[in-house]
């Protein structure tokens, strides 16, 4: 395979591979499975135009205790995956909404799924 490419082309192709790996280097912003499960629940509700309040989120008993879920929400906010929104006229209800980073993340997942599907179909 390598013999078919010039030295410049080989170097460039290896550079592209390395760049892809460098972009995947861990940066402390990765989510664990529990955080992802909570994020998915919150984003699904937002997608259904019924954004979840913080109170509702910490009441998702299947995902953990309220104290644990509260910590998880805090971590997701620190990772810029969730932000909060107050409803006009009611400062008490705090809604959880996805950030731009979260939308990018789900779009990336969607595209990866599409690519994998195309790969299987080919």
């Amino acid at each position: 395979m390598e013999k078919n490419h010039s030295a410049f082309a080989t170097a460039y192709l290896r550079f592209l591979q390395l760049a892809k790996v460098v972009q995947a280097l861990p940066d402390g912003q990765e989510m664990d499975a529990n955080e992802l499960a909570l994020l998915e629940s919150v984003v699904l509700r937002w997608y259904e135009d019924q954004p979840m309040t913080v109170r509702e989120a910490i009441g998702l008993a299947a995902l953990g205790s309220p104290a644990t879920l509260h910590k998880r929400i805090t971590r997701l906010r620190e990772k810029d995956m969730l932000s909060t929104l107050n409803q006009e006229g009611d400062r008490r209800a705090k809604f959880l909404i996805p950030t731009q980073r979260t939308l990018d993340y789900f779009q990336h997942l969607g595209r990866s799924m599409q690519q994998a599907h195309k790969g299987l179909a080919a």
């Binding site: 390598e2 010039s6 030295a7 192709l13 390395l18 460098v22 972009q23 779009q107």
Partner: protein, 190 residues
């Protein structure tokens, strides 16, 4: 142009590119991290070590030869005196050893020559392996050639730490630039 001539010219160009990048970042490192110098030629942060990883992985042998040439250029004063062998071996330790390590890893099937199966954890491991190999090779050369005031068991650590920290800084700097310039997906779907 005949294929072998074109190939030779391209590899020569890549070798010089590698040498220029290594020397340039060596000077830059000396300028920006002069306060971190442990001893002559050893710093607690050594950015050119990042180029050792990148250039050897991407360019292969021309990258390694460029690192060696760059090292000879940096040590050019040694070639004028009676330390020519030290200068020569410094270049071999800095350029050829990482390449030999890479070849050994490829032979064991741990690393694909085209980097197709390389993962982020593997790249981090490679960075540490290259940092260690370079530090050990340099210290052994200095021990064998009786460089004055050398204590290999102590001096090897600043060199290893400097190589590893410098390479990680370079790789994460590269990641930061790539993240910054990568086009963001549009959100027309929602």
């Amino acid at each position: 142009m005949k294929h072998w001539l074109q190939d030779g010219l391209e590899k020569t160009a890549l070798t010089f590119l590698s040498a220029v990048l290594f020397v340039g970042f060596f000077q830059f490192n000396g300028w920006i991290f002069s306060g971190f110098q442990y001893s002559e030629g050893v710093s607690w942060v050594f950015l050119p070590a990042g180029f050792r990883v990148i250039l050897v992985l991407v360019l292969g042998l021309p990258g390694a030869l460029g690192l060696m040439l760059g090292s000879w250029f940096i040590d050019r004063d040694l070639f004028g005196g009676n330390n020519a062998l030290l200068g020569f071996m410094n270049g071999v330790a800095g350029g050829v050893i990482p390449w030999l390590v890479m070849k050994w890893l490829q032979k064991r099937g741990w690393l694909n020559p085209q980097l197709q199966t390389l993962t982020a954890p593997q790249l981090l491991n490679l960075t540490l392996i290259f940092a260690a190999a370079s530090a050990i090779a340099h210290q052994l050369v200095w021990l064998l050639l009786e460089r004055p005031n050398l204590n290999i068991w102590v001096d090897i650590w600043p060199m290893f730490v400097g190589n590893a920290l410098g390479a990680l800084l370079m790789l994460y700097g590269f990641k930061f630039v790539l993240d910054w310039v990568s086009p963001k997906p549009s959100h027309d779907d929602h």
